[in-house]
């Protein structure tokens, strides 16, 4: 791991003055990921908060080449960019060592862009895909996505007199990516910045497609005060809501495990999107969520212990 002094010398690729909210988890995630390489970086974006907030014509906050095509096709678009780079490299028309990274929100990654992402990694493009996961379609006013957790209230799956927010479980995207047998996949969040920078560094150094899922709290959608973004990111890990792990060539490993796991309610109670779960009639839902978290952690524990004892695949 580079020292803070060394990291501070890496030029900022996302300039200040962009129009993302104060306390936005996504912009913090972007800056931390980009600390993972000193090489020139070309960035792919998709329609969403990050695109809207960083590029309103004639302005751009990106000091490095950046491309946005549509909502669901960042992985396909960057497949073309990265292959064009390899073609020019082969012909000797380009010399620099360039890195390629995509930042996609959970809507564009878990849902509408999953096919393009799956295609990109199956074809083995040398691209790091980062999902800045804020667990709903925040750019269009907090609609439910495949990443929205059970029980969260969103504008398209709101808590009401009959329904208690989202009634389905979120999909485990990181596991889906691991199932593609890519050389590196990880989960991270912005409070644990060293962990995230380390993971980004590893991903940038890995040849082939890599994936990092970064929990990026959104105060507008999760409904908390903007200054609490990092505290909530921390609580997500401390309660086991967002385990920090990495999967390198099929071997699962915790990168950080809190010594004592806090009850899930410590995380849920900080956010308006879960407020309705604390009414008396929803007590059993809270218990169900706690059980889900516990089961999930047990499962990860098993994966870590089983794959650690096996030989790393060549």
């Amino acid at each position: 791991m580079a020292t803070i002094k060394e990291l501070s010398q890496i030029p900022e690729r996302l300039s200040g003055g962009h129009r993302l909210c104060a306390g936005c988890g996504a912009s913090i995630a972007v800056r931390q990921v980009l600390l993972g390489t000193k090489d020139p970086v070309i960035i792919g974006g998709q329609t969403g908060c990050l695109e809207v907030g960083t590029t309103i014509y004639p302005y751009t906050a990106w000091k490095t080449p950046w491309i946005h095509n549509a909502f669901e096709n960042a992985a396909a678009t960057m497949s073309g960019v990265e292959t064009a780079y390899r073609a020019l490299l082969k012909k000797g028309k380009i010399k620099e060592d360039i890195k390629f990274v995509i930042f996609g929100g959970d809507g564009g990654t878990y849902d509408i862009g999953l096919q393009a992402l799956s295609g990109m990694v199956e074809r083995g493009h040398n691209i790091l895909y980062v999902c800045y996961d804020n667990q709903a379609y925040m750019n269009t006013s907090v609609q439910r996505s495949g990443s929205t957790p059970f029980g969260a209230s969103t504008t398209t799956a709101p808590a009401g007199k009959v329904l208690q927010g989202k009634s389905q479980f979120r999909k485990e995207l990181t596991e889906i990516m691991v199932a593609h047998h890519i050389p590196y996949a990880a989960q991270a969040t912005i409070y644990y910045w060293k962990d995230l920078v380390n993971k980004a560094t590893k991903a940038f150094q890995t040849k082939g497609p890599t994936f990092i899922n970064v929990l990026s709290p959104c105060h507008r959608g999760w409904r908390y005060e903007q200054e609490n973004t990092l505290d909530i990111s921390k609580l997500a890990v401390e309660t086991g809501f967002w385990p920090l792990y990495e999967v390198e060539n099929g071997v699962w490993r915790w990168t950080y495990k809190p010594k004592e796991k806090k009850p899930i309610t410590e995380f849920l109670k900080t956010q308006g999107r879960f407020k309705h779960l604390f009414s008396d009639k929803n007590k059993q839902l809270l218990e169900e969520i706690q059980k889900l978290v516990d089961n999930r952690l047990d499962y990860l524990e098993k994966l870590c212990s089983v794959t650690a004892t096996e030989q790393k695949p060549e």
Binding site: P65, A76, G80, V81, A84, L88, I98, S118
Partner: protein, 395 residues
């Protein structure tokens, strides 16, 4: 002196692939769909045999095929794809982005009917659906034209004052799967003819970073769309000059339109693609019976050759426009609507529409004869019974 060439038996698909081999693009990203498959299969074999330098990306859908091609083109290389029907429909969203970003992508399209119900045979509903996408459209009559226009399209698309994507269309199965003798010119000559692609703002230029695809709101979007219209206008002016270079090389007379025995004709049909071949033989036969029939073939649908059509039709007494697509407007097919709009205020000639050949229904010489006999009647009576007619359908 005639340039070096070989005559090779090729299908329309193979002719497109052969043009792509000689263009030797840096990137081809494609997804298979009938009847385009033979283009990508033939080209994949060129890649497998090391005949081309192309990096071929086997994407997982046409949406990704167009997105990947767009990414590669923005990166600064020559990038191509090819498709048909549902594939083009799936690309639809990204077609507009490619033209909006002013990326000179050339795409062979093998025309096939759109679902539903599903049908794999020829009509023009796929590309007519992409009529307003900002792409230039070229329709080819046979495999030779497919080969030559695919090559010429590269120079049209990449012209620094045009910078627009181009689709080069041929009729599914009728052209794509029929073998003809195709004149294939020398590789080195074609390479010289099309030259190298020099992108203006390549994404891969890390020293001069650019942002592609920013949010563009009320204060600029309209100006950008206006510039796009201007580009099509400029394309209209520049294309004849670009084609003359190719005409000199190929020994052809390619233009926006082509006429057949139209000079002294009294009645005519206006058509596109393979049907024009069938019409030629009918016209020859009619002339034997002293019927002054002619044809106007539309090669470029975008930019739309309105002036050329008006000038060519000026002396006619009645016209039938043949559409291989329905627009469900109750006002005829898309070609009819545009031809009629072009003629309006310029000439006063009765024009009728025949929608034909949907889903690959054959059009026979008898069909074209019957259309001509109805047009002849309109010419002599001045009366139009039905503005929109359906040729060859069971009613």
């Amino acid at each position: 002196m005639e340039n070096k060439y070989k005559i090779i038996p090729l299908t329309g698909d193979q002719a497109a692939a052969e043009a792509m081999r000689q263009i030797n693009p840096d990137i081809v990203a494609a997804y298979p769909i009938t009847p385009q498959t033979e283009i990508v299969m033939t080209f994949a074999q060129f890649v497998a045999d090391g005949i081309v330098d192309t990096e071929m990306i086997q994407v997982e859908s046409e949406h990704s095929a167009m997105s990947t091609t767009l990414g590669a083109c923005a990166a600064g290389v020559r990038a191509m794809t090819a498709t048909s029907s549902q594939g083009l429909a799936l690309m639809w969203e990204v077609l507009y982005i490619a033209s909006g970003y002013r990326l000179p992508i050339v795409m062979p399209v093998v025309n096939r009917a759109l679902s539903g119900p599903i049908n794999i045979h020829c009509d023009h509903s796929d590309t007519m659906g992409a009529r307003d996408s900002g792409w230039l459209h070229i329709y080819c009559e046979n495999a030779q034209e497919v080969y030559e226009m695919t090559i010429a399209a590269i120079k049209i698309a990449e012209h620094p004052e045009i910078l627009l994507p181009v689709m080069v269309c041929q009729d599914g199965f009728i052209t794509s799967h029929a073998t003809e003798g195709v004149k294939i010119f020398d590789d080195a000559d074609i390479k010289k003819l099309i030259g190298e692609y020099k992108p203006k703002y390549p994404l891969l230029d890390i020293k001069n970073p650019v942002s592609y695809g920013p949010l563009d709101l009320q204060d600029y979007y309209f100006e950008h769309k206006r510039q796009q219209s201007e580009a099509v206008k400029i394309a209209k002016e520049k294309i004849p000059g670009i084609l003359s270079e190719f005409n000199k090389f190929f020994g052809k007379d390619y233009g926006y339109i082509e006429t057949y025995r139209l000079e002294d004709a009294e009645i005519a049909i206006i058509a596109m693609s393979s049907t024009c071949g069938t019409a030629r033989s009918v016209i020859d036969e009619l002339h034997k019976n002293n019927i002054k029939a002619g044809m106007l073939k539309i090669r470029f649908f975008r930019p739309f050759p309105a002036e050329e059509i008006v000038n060519a039709c000026r002396n006619l007494r009645a016209i039938a426009v043949l559409d291989r697509a329905e627009s469900f407007s109750n006002q005829g097919g898309p070609l009819f609507a545009e031809v009629r709009a072009a003629l309006y205020n310029n000439v006063s000639i009765p024009v009728v529409n025949y929608i034909y050949g949907l889903g690959g229904r054959d059009i026979y010489t008898e069909d074209i004869k019957s259309i001509f006999s109805e047009v002849k009647e309109i010419a002599s009576t001045g009366k139009v019974k039905n503005l929109v007619n359906y040729q060859g359908v069971r009613e």
